[in-house]
Amino acid sequence: MYRTYPYALLFATTTLLQVFLFDNLSLSLYLDPLVYLAFILLLPLDIPAAVLLGAGLATGVAMDMTMGAAGINTISTLLAAFVRPAIVGFCYGSENAREGGTPSPERMGRRAFVRYAAIVILIHHSVFFTLEALSLAHTLHNLARIVASSTATFAATWLLMRLFTAKLPLRI
């Protein structure tokens, strides 16, 4: 498969950042960025759905092992990987997506990229933090956590996307 090495590097970068930086950073109860999702978000637009699911499974299981979270990363990342093609189709058009390439504002248009990333991140974080809190008692508190952490994840994803796509002209 083409561009395997850059994506392997991206996987390593996002998981290591998550494990060694963000998992040890007690910023606040409301700010818990899950940057490993950037890997799922930045996979090629034309990736087969089954491969995407496989990537989601690998990322989720790796994160569950290192965080000591018994399954919530797998559950939420699998869901994110499963709905991603539909959301790409909704924001960018499935016909366009078939051309492939890394999702970025340059390729998809800023508006489409922001909507795509925001929807996937929100779906993932909603599942993650709802399961994590395991209660609907503090709905407002949970909502605040979802929104704040999603914003942080989005910012991190944007940065990673910039770094990841900036290398393109050098390599090609």
Binding site: L29, L31, G68, A70, F82, L131, A133, H138
Partner: protein
């Protein structure tokens, strides 16, 4: 009509059906794959407990513990100043206490005190945090000490200034995983200092600086700033370890008990080093239970006769 024609007719029919089946599977296999994987993950999560999570973390620490330690060491350089100040404060505090003993003129009393310290009920050791943060509701902390260093499951974890942090829930050769009070599965007991009113300590997952002391009698009249300490019932902590201070208290709907919000004395989000407390009595009991278990759960008179 020969047999051959019949066979080939069946075969034709089958081939068509199989092709249809394959097409159908191809059109839905991603959905099926997703549902199956998700079901397995949800099933695993539904059957997990805080201890499952601790065990997972202990296992991954075998692999990642050293790297965590290295990253942690780099981070430590930036907090050395603050840690040093805290140590000096602690030294000063202990010096003060030591001076009080030195001044004790009643030599007999001092001797009796030393006698009782010969074999203390609790043994203390230190550890450094190598992983874990408190920004979730199921937080776990990884410590850089394990069985090899005499750590065992059930040891209490205290902050350097002696405030309650949590207890060890799982342990490997070189690393231990502790559940801090900032984990919604944490349960312990707490008492309003200077009174006999006690209740249970837990965390509602909303604020990393306060925990809840519930089921306090309505006659307790908790005052703001009053100390909350551990009770003697806990098998993890010694008695009278500081937990925090009363921030506010509210009566429940039936006006029979108070829920007291306690400001934590230990700054768990900024914790670097911890003190571990092991209860020797509990360990002895644990060893005994382990021996009994190894003997197959029953020690028969015959068996002891044969060993004699």
């Amino acid at each position: 009509m020969g047999l051959r024609a019949v066979v080939s007719a069946i075969f034709e029919f089958d081939r068509g059906a199989v092709r249809k089946l394959i097409e159908f599977i191809r059109s839905v296999y991603v959905v099926v794959l997703f549902v199956v994987l998700e079901a397995v993950a949800v099933n695993f999560y539904a059957h997990s407990t805080a201890y499952t999570q601790a065990r997972l973390l202990t296992r991954s620490n075998r692999l990642l513990g050293d790297a965590h330690g290295l990253v942690g060491d780099i981070g430590r350089y930036f907090t050395l100043g603050r840690e040093n100040r805290r140590l000096i404060e602690r030294v000063a505090e202990l010096e003060e206490r030591l001076a009080a003993y030195a001044e004790a003129e009643n030599a007999e009393r001092l001797e009796s005190y030393i006698d009782s310290e010969q074999d203390p009920k609790y043994r203390m050791t230190t550890a450094t945090l190598v992983g874990g943060a408190v920004n979730r509701s199921q937080n776990l902390l990884t410590l850089n000490r394990g069985y090899r260093d005499g750590i065992s499951v059930g040891m209490g974890v205290l902050s350097p200034s002696g405030a309650m942090v949590g207890f060890v829930v799982d342990c490997s050769e070189r690393y231990a995983v502790a559940m801090p009070v900032l984990n919604t599965s944490f349960r312990s007991s707490g008492r309003l200092a200077g009174t006999d009113y006690f209740g249970s300590i837990s965390w509602d997952g909303r604020d990393a600086e306060t925990v809840q002391l519930s089921d306090i009698s309505k006659y307790a009249e908790p005052r703001e700033g009053q100390e909350v300490v551990t009770t003697g019932f806990s098998q993890y902590f010694p008695e009278d370890v500081l937990i925090g201070w009363v921030e506010r208290a509210e009566l429940n709907e039936t006006r029979t008990t108070y829920t007291v919000h306690v400001r934590l004395a230990a700054e768990i989000s900024r914790l670097r080093d911890v003190v571990l407390v092991g209860n020797r009595d509990r360990e002895v009991v644990g060893d005994l239970q382990e021996q009994v278990r190894q003997n197959g759960g029953a020690i028969s008179p015959d068996r002891s006769a044969t060993t004699n």
